[in-house]
């Protein structure tokens, strides 16, 4: 179950489990999470939890609510997010997200009304039917790096997969001689659309050129390509549709 770790100036005060569909945070005693401090409004914020997602909402508080240093009105909490209310910090911890469980991507059927907690087993009520079993996958993804140490740091987006080094094409002949084209997108096309097309694919481990359309095939370093993608190396010379260009890493 997801939870919040309440702390003040680095000192952990307590842990709060998000075990209710709606939990309010504020100065007044009736709140699920009571924070006695003048910088905190009577009813400051609320967290709504639906299955594995928790949504934070500021309840028009006087001093506002911050997430990772930025003011928010509504926010979907991510594992490691730090909520600031007054001087208090609440770190959102979601064990589901932190494990990258193999079941994470499995499609499952919801068979009950949304928002109902799962009934005790053996019940014949509408239930969340998990139509899959836990299987050991062949290849496990390495778990993501732990959340940033400093509570005040802006949480970085989930680490992207390994990316190829920046690269570009320089045109060596024809009307566009001298022009440079950065290969920033996952696919860059070369040649005349509809007539003679090759694409350069940017993959995690490098760049590859593939013939897509047209009667003649690209030539790389003097060798005519076949139908297969061809890996590109620094300073390779490509010839296509009568134009010469150089591939280089930046």
């Amino acid at each position: 179950m997801a939870k919040l770790i309440l702390s003040l100036e680095g000192q952990v005060i307590r842990e709060i489990e998000l075990n209710k569909e709606r939990m309010t945070i504020g100065r007044k005693a009736h709140n699920d999470v009571q924070i006695e401090n003048l910088a905190v409004s009577g009813e400051h914020a609320a967290i709504t939890t639906i299955l594995n997602d928790s949504f934070l909402e500021d309840l028009d508080s006087t001093n506002g609510t911050l997430v990772n240093g930025a003011p928010v009105k509504k926010h979907v909490l991510q594992h490691g997010d730090t909520v600031e209310i007054g001087k208090f910090h609440l770190e959102y911890v979601n064990p589901q997200a932190s494990q990258e469980a193999p079941d994470f991507e499995r499609t499952m059927v919801l068979r009950g009304p949304i928002g109902m907690p799962p009934p005790p087993p053996g019940d014949n009520q509408p239930e969340f039917s998990k139509t899959s079993i836990n299987k050991q996958p062949l290849q496990m993804e390495p778990p993501p790096a732990p959340a940033a140490e400093t509570p005040h740091a802006v949480k970085p987006p989930p680490a992207p997969p390994v990316e190829a080094r920046p690269a570009a094409i320089q045109v060596l002949s024809g009307p566009n001689v001298g022009k440079e084209l950065d290969l920033t997108k996952s696919l860059t096309s070369l040649g005349k659309p509809g007539v003679q097309v090759a694409v350069i694919a940017k993959r995690p481990h490098g760049y590859f050129i593939t013939h897509v359309q047209g009667t003649s095939f690209p030539v790389v370093n003097g060798k005519t390509l076949d139908n297969q993608p061809c890996p590109l190396h620094d300073h390779d010379i490509i010839e296509l549709a009568g134009i010469k260009m150089e591939f280089f890493l930046k």
Partner: protein, 267 residues
């Protein structure tokens, strides 16, 4: 009519287990001549997912090949009925063996006829369309996340970071009856349709999908391989399947004068 759409529709299908899963529980099927394509993403323990999606594609393929010999006037009803029949069969099979209990599948079915495409779907497998520069998701997911987006609870952007992905609100085969969503759209020459399981759109952005279809659409085999490769390069955490359908010609149905008269009166 017998359709005979081989010269008008170019279809390529590709299904891959991905980088993490040991089984492929997606199934794909298509028949360009008859004018249909089917994609199903199965769920269930052991190999039940494979059974559910495989059965679904096999049954629909056989039944549609037979049913589409006649004209396509009531295609929406036909598609709905056939999917409902398939639901019944999968549900029955699910009751018959303990390891099949609870099995189910998503489905996207497209039937091309008379310059229109009839789309029947259940779950979160999708149909996209590239028409010129316009790339659009045609089907709306039957998922918890989509319901939250529709009700304004969560933005599309936030949905990308949700932990509730892959929770569908409907599936084929999990109950005796199922609500199939059926729609019909006009088709234009040059249209490129993409049926895919969530193993694609969960791993690859819409922008990259559109880029692939735009740049490599002239070569459907390569485009399909590129889509699967991108999903795997980005982690491949689920089975990934795609079917690409390109419309290269007109397929208006020839009609006798009486038929045209009837359709004038909305028959």
């Amino acid at each position: 009519m017998g359709q005979g759409l081989e010269s008008v529709l170019e279809i390529v299908k590709l299904s891959d287990p991905g980088m993490v899963r040991s089984h492929n529980e997606d199934s794909v099927g298509a028949d360009a001549g008859a004018g249909f394509a089917i994609l199903a993403d199965g769920m269930g323990g052991y190999n039940a997912g494979e059974v559910a999606s495989g059965m679904t594609v096999a049954m629909l393929t056989d039944n549609l090949k037979a049913a589409l010999r006649d004209d396509c006037r009531d295609l929406r009803a036909l598609a709905g009925d056939e999917v409902q029949k398939t639901n019944g069969a999968v549900f029955q099979a699910a009751q018959s063996q303990p390891q099949y209990n609870g099995m189910g599948t998503t489905i996207v079915l497209t039937v091309f006829c008379d310059n229109r495409v009839t789309v029947a779907h259940i779950g979160d497998s999708r149909l996209y369309r590239l028409r010129g520069e316009q790339f659009e998701q045609i089907t709306r997911d039957h998922s918890l996340l989509q319901e939250q987006i529709d009700s304004g609870m969560i933005s599309r952007e936030d949905a990308r970071h949700s932990h509730n992905k892959n929770l569908v609100t409907r599936a084929l085969g999990v109950e005796a009856g199922v609500a199939v969503e059926v729609n019909e759209y006009p088709v234009e020459i040059g249209d490129l349709y993409l049926l895919c399981s969530d193993g694609l759109n969960d791993m690859v952005t819409d922008e990259d999908i559109q880029l692939t279809l735009s740049l490599m659409g002239a070569n459907l085999e390569m485009a399909a391989q590129q889509l699967v490769q991108m999903a795997n390069d980005n982690g491949g955490r689920d089975n990934v399947s795609v079917i690409l359908v390109r419309v290269v010609g007109d397929f208006a149905q020839k009609r006798g004068w009486f038929s045209r008269l009837l359709s004038w009166f909305g028959q």
